[in-house]
């Protein structure tokens, strides 16, 4: 087997993708079904002069990850539902203080301890709104082990570019499935690094954003600059403020810095949508079954296509509206009681009938089940 071909689990591909992106710090805590990511990092990072630390809980896992990023590292943590809940508070701090990190959520059934070893897609709204307060969200949904690798690199690039947390919303099926991965040659894909200050330490205003991209250059602790990091709403100096003008400026920039560049971030994938009258919208592991169902339905002469959001957030609404302009019915299969379907409704609900198709028994949706739904509505 050529050395760039791997037979990896999704979780392994995420770990190796992180390393390829330049991740050299992992702070984590064991949780099924994500633990393999931490295990690969524990083994690989010391070989690369990186740092792995198993912390005392999920909260400290993300705290250490943010700390390492402040000290100049590309850093990541990984978890699943209950741990994702615990990380929300510090995730908010990273949004507010604009600290780039990557957080992996390998989704399992919830609420609470739920189904540790069974798949779900129940955290996709938590990804958007889990921590309190407004902020732009960037979240990817891999559908294959190959994508686990590539989207983790992309997640790091976007975290570094936008100076904020970026999420990879994997799931138990993708995380534990083994597939062929073609590891791209280093140098064949872009690697982005955070903007560093160009001014001297004396002139450095830590949260003064460049007007062209709304992103302030970021110094690292220890590189000669001195600055203050806080979760309190702050002014350009990074100092807590109660001035309405300063509050509004900071708050709106947190949202705008992602909104402005959503076209650069949004990714999606289409399957036979050109003449489709029925559209299936699905993501993650469900999209694998759905694409097969669409192909089988096409073989039976049904005009059906598939839309797969690769970024769940920002939601590809413009793209969905464009693709769905001729569509009469949209089937939205999800492993939850209907979460992303709300976004589909906002985008297409006025023009097309939206048909949720939900499974929440810990099983995956199989191609024949989705095919049956397509045939039913055709």
């Amino acid at each position: 087997m050529p050395s760039n071909l791997k037979f990896w689990q999704g979780n392994m591909a995420i770990a190796h993708g992180g390393i390829a992106a330049g991740c050299r710090f992992f702070g984590g805590y064991p949780i099924t079904p994500s633990s393999e990511i931490a295990e690969v990092m524990a083994e690989e990072l010391p070989k690369l002069n990186g740092r792995f630390i198993q912390m005392e809980d999920e909260i400290a896992g993300i705290a250490a990850t943010i700390g390492a990023s402040i000290a100049g590292y590309k850093a990541m943590t990984a978890t699943s539902g209950p741990g994702f809940s615990l990380k929300q508070e510090n995730l908010g701090l990273a949004y507010m203080a604009e600290i780039p990190i990557v957080v992996i959520d390998v989704m399992r059934g919830g609420p609470s301890t739920g189904l540790p070893t069974r798949v779900s897609q129940q955290d996709v709204m938590q990804a958007r709104w889990g921590t309190h307060g407004d902020h732009g969200t960037i979240a990817y949904s891999p559908s294959s082990v190959q994508e686990c690798y590539e989207l983790t690199i992309e997640a790091f690039n976007m975290a570094e570019r936008f100076r904020q947390p970026v999420l990879v919303m994997s799931d138990e099926v993708i995380g534990h499935m083994r597939e062929k991965v073609v590891v791209p040659q280093p140098g064949s894909y872009p690697i982005l690094d955070r903007k560093k200050p160009k001014v001297s330490p004396e002139e450095f205003i830590p949260y003064l954003a460049d007007p062209e991209d709304d992103i302030p250059p970021m110094a690292s602790f220890g590189d000669g600059y001195r600055w203050h990091v806080t979760g309190l709403t702050h002014n350009d100096w990074g100092f807590p403020t109660n001035e309405p003008e300063e509050i509004g400026k900071k708050h709106l920039r947190l949202v705008r810095k992602v909104d402005r560049f959503r076209d650069d971030i949004v990714k999606y994938d289409l399957e036979q949508t050109e003449d489709a009258e029925i559209l299936v919208f699905s993501y993650g592991c469900v999209a694998r079954s759905a694409v097969r169902a669409v192909r089988e339905a096409r073989a039976k002469g049904i005009k059906v296509g598939h839309f797969r959001p690769i970024t769940l957030w920002p939601f590809p609404d413009k793209e969905l509206i464009r693709v769905g302009s001729q569509v009469k019915k949209v089937i939205v299969p999800e492993l939850n009681c209907g979460q992303m379907v709300s976004e589909v409704r906002i985008a297409l609900g006025a023009k097309a009938e939206i048909i949720p198709s939900n499974l929440v028994n810990g099983e995956i949706l199989r191609p024949h089940e989705i095919l049956a739904t397509i045939e039913e509505v055709a």
Binding site: F25, G27, P46, K47, N49, R51, I53, M55, E56, D57, I59, A60, G61, I62, A63, A64, T65, I66, G67, A68, S69, I70, A71, G72, Y73, A75, E89, N90, L93, P201, F221, G222, G224, Y225, R226, W227, H228, V229, T230, G231, L232, W237, F239, P240
Partner: protein, 271 residues
């Protein structure tokens, strides 16, 4: 008045500070800054972390690399910073609620890991910022807004907690002994390993008002009258020690420090 040498360490841009007139936290801030100056630390290589509370606002006023995090979680952040860049001097300033209630788990694990961070715990026996609620160090019988009939739960002894959990250096002083505070902070910073310096301070606004020590001077006198050096405490009965504050150094030991252990691991793995 502050010494001239510490002035560059103050972010006067961020003044006025939020502390009440007469608050004990200023004495501790001054002791920390004197320690850093005397030890020849540079502002660029010094990190001050904190969580949430009145005492946790301290890093904002220090002209170094400062990080004001979430309630109780600062040691997690500080651990990430220190492991990422072990050459930095990392100090974590905390209050009693931040350290021993919401942050209790992080505190004992930082002690266990013996990572080279100096935790300075400003213990005023109360949640001051939120309006005087009982904390895990509120003495039995003391009044707080959430213990209007007197606290009934047994308080933590922060130094014994740190000792049991594995810290390398543990000491306690009160703000009535500022020279001792400075001495212990210096030893804590110099110690390779996790250090805990507990400094008893007061919140006359929220604790003192409800517990017959409404003025800063009442509290300073309380600390002066009730501080007992460790050696003297050894000769006292349990009954005599009740209500007293035992001051001194309780732990000063050599143990494998975490970041050193990790760098050795890297060397071993890389061959």
């Amino acid at each position: 008045m502050p010494r001239e040498e510490i002035k560059p360490w103050l972010r006067t841009r961020f003044f006025p500070h939020i502390w009440c007139p007469g608050c004990g936290h200023g004495i501790i801030l001054h002791a920390i800054l004197r320690s850093l100056v005397d030890l020849g630390k540079s502002r660029e290589e010094t990190v001050i972390a904190s969580g949430i509370g009145c005492s946790s606002r301290m890093p904002g006023y220090i002209n170094a690399n400062t990080v004001h995090t979430t309630h109780g979680r600062s040691l997690g952040f500080a651990t990430g910073i220190k492991l990422a860049n072990p050459s930095l001097t990392v100090i974590d300033v905390m209050g009693d609620g931040d350290c021993t209630a919401i942050g209790g788990n992080h505190f004992i694990h930082a002690c266990r890991r013996n990572i080279d961070i100096t935790a300075i715990v400003m213990n005023n026996n109360i949640y001051g910022m939120t309006g005087g609620q009982a904390s895990p160090t509120t003495p039995v019988g003391a009044r707080a807004t959430t213990a209007p009939y007197g606290a009934i739960d047994t308080p933590f002894d922060i130094c014994r907690l740190a000792e049991g959990a594995g810290a390398s250096y543990v000491a306690r002083a009160t703000i009535a002994q500022p020279v001792l505070c400075e001495q212990y902070i210096k030893r804590g910073i110099q110690k390779k390993g996790f250090s805990v310096v507990e400094i008893m301070t007061h919140c006359h606004t929220q604790f003192g008002r409800r517990n017959k020590r409404p003025n800063p001077v009442d509290n300073l006198n309380f600390f002066k009258d009730n501080s007992v050096p460790k050696a003297k405490a050894k000769e006292m009965t349990e009954e005599e020690k009740k209500g007293k504050i035992i001051i001194g150094e309780f732990v000063d030991r050599e143990a494998q420090e975490y970041t050193e252990a990790y760098l050795k691991l890297i060397e071993r793995v890389r061959g």
